[in-house]
């Protein structure tokens, strides 16, 4: 298996180079650049003053080397990353890109992992139930619920949840992951409790978003598997029904979900952008969104690059996990 993993890692290198080029081009695509966007922001705040925005942008462009050809800019950027691990500084936040991401990573992971667990804990049993009792009232009921979950935009669910919190329950602090007084405070039992009191809402919102598709995949796969001969054989040997389903059915039907897990790795970092903004979460998603809309080159570029790398790593991990789980996979 080791040569298989090594080969896969080697394949990742040209892909990464390609990704870095694409991510740089993507952030250059929209008209204007971070400076015009910066001037627009100032104007939006009424801070443009009486200066001509055109002249201000011209003065800034020289300072930031934005007049250089794109190729030169690209090599300057990727050179710093490859040689010094320096992703540059965010124009809007005035902080190192890695430092910014790192700050938000902890809470982001806590949130997305709990949401992922919630999704699986809800969806897999329902999927199994539906597959074992196909076309029953329960199956239709869960399918219906699942589709409603899928069809409800998660930001809307978030807003409604917050509105109910604010008007009906009159909670102390709506949205966010922490009450204001704990932001920036050292970790303590109280702060952890406060986090728990807040985190359930985004976890529910993000978690329910994914359940419907996981239910459908689980149900479909398991239904296929249950019709196969080895299941018949297992039943014929007189195994208990739950063992048949758990060991011979679910064990196989869950494989596609494992490979899906790999694809979710970048989502753990950058996912839930809209919900993050609506709920005011200090996670990485909203950061990425601001970086894109304000054309914050280094932050957006760094973000895309890191997320893309995570897709590759996630795929690799998923493949390794699958190869280990599923003896039918060959290493060639």
């Amino acid at each position: 298996m080791t040569p298989y993993i090594l080969r896969r890692i080697l394949h990742m290198i040209p892909t990464l180079v390609l990704i870095s080029i694409v991510s740089f081009v993507i952030i250059q695509l929209p008209p204007g650049d971070m400076l015009t966007s910066f001037m627009a922001q100032l104007a939006g705040q009424g801070e443009q003053g009486s200066e001509s925005a055109v002249e201000q942008v011209r003065a800034l462009r020289g300072r930031y080397g934005l007049d250089d050809p794109v190729v030169v800019q690209y090599f300057r950027w990727i050179g710093r990353i490859a040689l010094h691990g320096d992703f540059g500084e965010s124009f809007t936040y005035k902080m190192g890109v890695l430092e910014l991401l790192w700050d938000r990573l902890g809470l982001t992971l806590a949130l997305t992992l709990s949401a992922l667990v919630l999704t699986w804990v809800i969806a897999v049993p329902i999927g199994v139930y539906s597959a074992t009792r196909p076309y029953s009232v329960g199956d239709y009921g869960f399918t219906f619920l699942g589709f409603i979950g899928l069809a409800t935009p998660s930001f809307l669910l978030a807003l409604i949840l917050m509105f109910i919190q604010a008007t009906t329950f009159e909670v102390r602090s709506v949205g966010g992951l922490l009450s204001p007084e704990y932001i920036g405070a050292p970790w303590s039992i109280d702060k952890a409790m406060d986090l728990l009191a807040h985190i359930w809402a985004p976890v529910v919102v993000i978690g329910t978003e994914g359940t419907a598709s996981v239910i459908r995949i689980m149900r479909g796969n398991l239904l296929d598997v249950l019709g196969q001969q080895h299941i018949v054989t297992a039943r014929a040997k007189g195994l208990k029904e739950w063992r048949v389903i758990a060991k011979y059915g679910v064990r196989i039907a869950i494989n596609p979900l494992v490979s899906r897990l790999g694809l979710q790795l970048p989502g753990l970092i950058s996912g839930a952008v809209v919900v993050g903004i609506v709920l005011g979460l200090p996670t990485a998603g909203p950061l990425f969104y601001t970086a894109l809309t304000s054309q914050d080159m280094f932050l957006a570029g760094g973000f895309i690059l890191i997320a893309a790398t995570l897709v590759l790593v996630g795929n690799l991990l998923a493949d390794i996990a699958l190869a280990w789980l599923d003896p039918r996979i060959r290493y060639e």
């Binding site: 929209p30 008209p31 204007g32 015009t36 966007s37 001037m39 627009a40 922001q41 100032l42 939006g44 705040q45 009424g46 801070e47 003053g49 009486s50 200066e51 001509s52 925005a53 055109v54 002249e55 201000q56 942008v57 011209r58 003065a59 800034l60 300072r63 809007t92 936040y93 005035k94 902080m95 910014l100 700050d103 938000r104 807003l159 917050m162 509105f163 919190q165 604010a166 008007t167 009159e170 909670v171 102390r172 602090s173 709506v174 949205g175 966010g176 204001p180 932001i183 920036g184 903004i277 609506v278 709920l279 005011g280 200090p282 909203p286 950061l287 601001t290 809309t293 304000s294 054309q295």
Partner: protein, 625 residues
């Protein structure tokens, strides 16, 4: 009172702003008892008294200047303590939301309504040499929040070592402010002594008071910042200095001394800003209590304005105004009945405007836009009352292109001109100008035979799209086909900067004070105004004349003459209607019921430092929790 007799404390400049009745009556003393001032028996917040007891601070009489600025509270003398809670949609990128609240310049606009310019850090000023020189006297004994004396050197450091030093100028100020430049050279600032500043220029300084009031900070602590300035310290670099001294960094980094009521204490990047009272703040209320009343001022970062609204309704925020929008009004009004907060309506201020591109890349359209009859017709074709009722809940005042009601040179007649809905007149004018529907498709034809069709650039989704939709519909009624080009600000804005639009929708720039927005009302640079980038070469005579008048107004200290020039400029603009205005919008904002001394009225105009300044936070207090 200390201070030269000829400069004695002046309350206001002679300039009289439009009279607006103040509804609020204060129960606080109208002035500080002279005996109290003489005995210097000032009172201070408990949290500072404790620090004095511990020997960490000198007693309050030593911390205040000889003649502190006396603030008469809007309602009553408040009590100390508590936290004022605000929200911002970002920290660095929204720094204006903080700086307008904390700004302290030599002069400042009167509050809550900016009817005049008042003394602030300066206790008086005087014009000499027919206005070519102005002398400003600082209050004696002013101190930075770290206790260091504040002197004219700090002003000169800001002006010459930060603003007019091309290498040191911070990233957020790419070019020096034009208001401080006369005939290509900066206005001269000199030190007479530690507290006397001489300002001089070859032309009279008609602009100087307004320019000072409009600048959030006109001094920075030299004793701290010079450490990073290459001119003062070996080994310092300009790149580092530029990074450290953007408005946001100076405002938000704890440890930078300030002159404002609160100073930065804690900054969790992208999440929260905590400000704590400045022990050396130089204002007292009219009962002799050192201000501010509130111990802390906190800003929480919440990206979504709707969530900010929700948090305000839930009682998590004390003041809501920077992000309030008219479309939030119905929800807020319904929630107001629970009496946790009160809504205020002030205005009207700048409202939606359609900027026609006088240098539109399409020649036939450009020709049409430059025809006054077409512009008058487009204005008459808009049914402003319908837009008001449909989208603004009655909070849009139909008006045309002129100076706003809070401007000293406002006139009702020019304000309303060409704003009545008169589609017949619009059709007649367009016919007369030769734009007829010759092929019978329901739309008029341009001079080159193509359809009279134009695109309106509008920021989608939050700002103005709905207004533009109605305008487009109404224009179609008179045979002009209008399409919407709705996109993110970051797509629309470069088009505006590069002059690549037909019509650009945005709030009318600075109708409250065109002198604070020269670039939109005059040919102030080779690429302005943005709606007529080629004005230096192709600009119409009236715009050149208006520019001349505005320049004359800026270079006279004779208020009667300045008025004459500004009235001329106003009439020229209104007569030629280069921009189509839909109306002036009221500003809806709210304050928690637990606050006292919230002003009943205020100005939300950016040129007057906006809503944040009107509220005068230092005298707002918390009645109960």
């Amino acid at each position: 009172m200390p201070g030269d007799p000829d400069l004695g404390p002046q309350k206001k400049t002679a300039e009289v702003f439009a009279e607006v009745a103040i509804r609020q009556q204060t129960k606080a003393p109208r002035q500080l008892d002279p005996a109290l001032l003489a005995s210097r028996a000032f009172k201070e917040a408990p949290m500072l008294a404790e620090r004095v007891k511990r020997g960490e601070l000198p007693p309050v009489p030593e911390r205040l200047p000889e003649n502190p600025l006396v603030v008469v509270p809007f309602e009553e003398v408040g009590r100390y303590g508590g936290t004022l809670r605000h929200a911002l949609t970002g920290d660095i990128i929204q720094s204006a939301g903080v700086s307008k609240i904390l700004s302290e310049s030599l002069m400042g606009f009167e509050r809550p309504l900016p009817r005049g310019v008042e003394c602030n850090l300066a206790e008086g000023h005087q014009f000499l040499d027919e206005g070519r020189t102005a002398i400003f006297k600082l209050r004696r004994g002013l101190r930075w929040s770290d206790g260091a004396p504040f002197t004219v050197d700090d002003v000169l450091f800001y002006y010459y070592d930060m603003v007019f030093n091309d290498e040191a100028r911070a990233e957020d100020m790419p070019v020096p402010p034009t208001i401080w430049v006369v005939d290509g050279a900066p206005i001269r600032l000199e030190k007479v002594d530690d507290r006397t500043l001489r300002v001089s220029s070859p032309k009279p300084l008609g602009r100087v008071l307004r320019a000072l009031a409009n600048t959030d900070n006109f001094a920075y602590p030299r004793h701290v910042l010079s450490r990073w300035h290459p001119k003062y310290s070996v080994g310092a670099s300009y790149a580092d200095f530029r990074r450290r001294t953007t408005g946001a960094m100076l405002l938000m980094t704890p440890g930078i001394p300030r002159l404002s009521a609160w100073v930065a204490k804690e900054w969790v990047r992208g999440q929260r800003l905590v400000y704590e009272r400045n022990p050396y703040y130089w204002k007292v209320d009219s009962a002799g209590n050192q201000l501010p009343y509130a111990d802390h001022l906190v800003f929480t970062v919440v990206q979504d304005p709707q969530v900010i609204q929700l948090k305000f309704m839930n009682g998590e925020l004390d003041l809501f105004g920077r992000y309030s929008r008219i479309d939030m009004y119905p929800t807020l009004k319904a929630e107001e009945q629970k009496r946790r907060f009160r809504l205020y309506i002030s205005g009207p201020f700048s409202g939606p405007a359609l900027y026609l591109n006088w240098d539109c890349p399409k020649p036939a359209l450009r020709e049409a836009f430059r025809d006054r009859r077409v512009r008058v017709a487009l204005s008459h074709a808009i049914h402003r009352e319908e837009i008001n009722q449909t989208l603004y809940h009655g909070l849009l005042e139909p008006s045309g292109y002129s100076f706003g009601p809070s401007n000293p040179y406002f006139s009702e007649d020019t304000y309303k001109r060409y704003s009545e809905f008169d589609p017949e007149r619009a059709r007649a004018l367009l016919d007369e100008a030769g734009y007829r529907d010759s092929d019978g498709d329901g739309f008029r034809e341009l001079k080159d035979g193509s359809r009279f069709e134009l695109n309106i650039d509008v920021m989608a989704p939050d700002f103005g799209r709905d207004v533009c939709e109605l305008v487009a519909e109404q224009w179609r009624e008179v045979g002009v086909k209008a399409n919407l080009n709705g996109a993110l600000r970051d797509i629309i804005w470069p088009r505006r900067l590069n002059g690549e639009f037909d019509i650009h929708h945005w709030g009318l720039e600075g109708p409250e004070d065109p002198l604070g927005r020269l670039n939109d009302w005059a040919i102030a640079s080779p690429t302005s105004p943005f709606w007529h980038r080629n004005a230096t070469r192709e600009g119409p005579e009236w715009l050149r004349e208006a520019t001349r008048q505005i320049e004359l107004a800026l270079t006279t200290v004779d208020t009667a003459k300045a008025r004459g020039h500004m009235v001329r400029a106003r009439d020229l603009h209104t007569d030629h209607i280069p921009v189509i205005v839909v109306g002036s919008a009221y500003h809806v904002w709210g304050a928690s019921a637990r606050l006292g001394n919230v002003p009943e009225d205020g100005s939300s105009a950016d040129v007057h430092r906006g809503w944040g300044r009107s509220v005068a936070h230092e005298q707002v207090y918390i009645k109960h929790d």
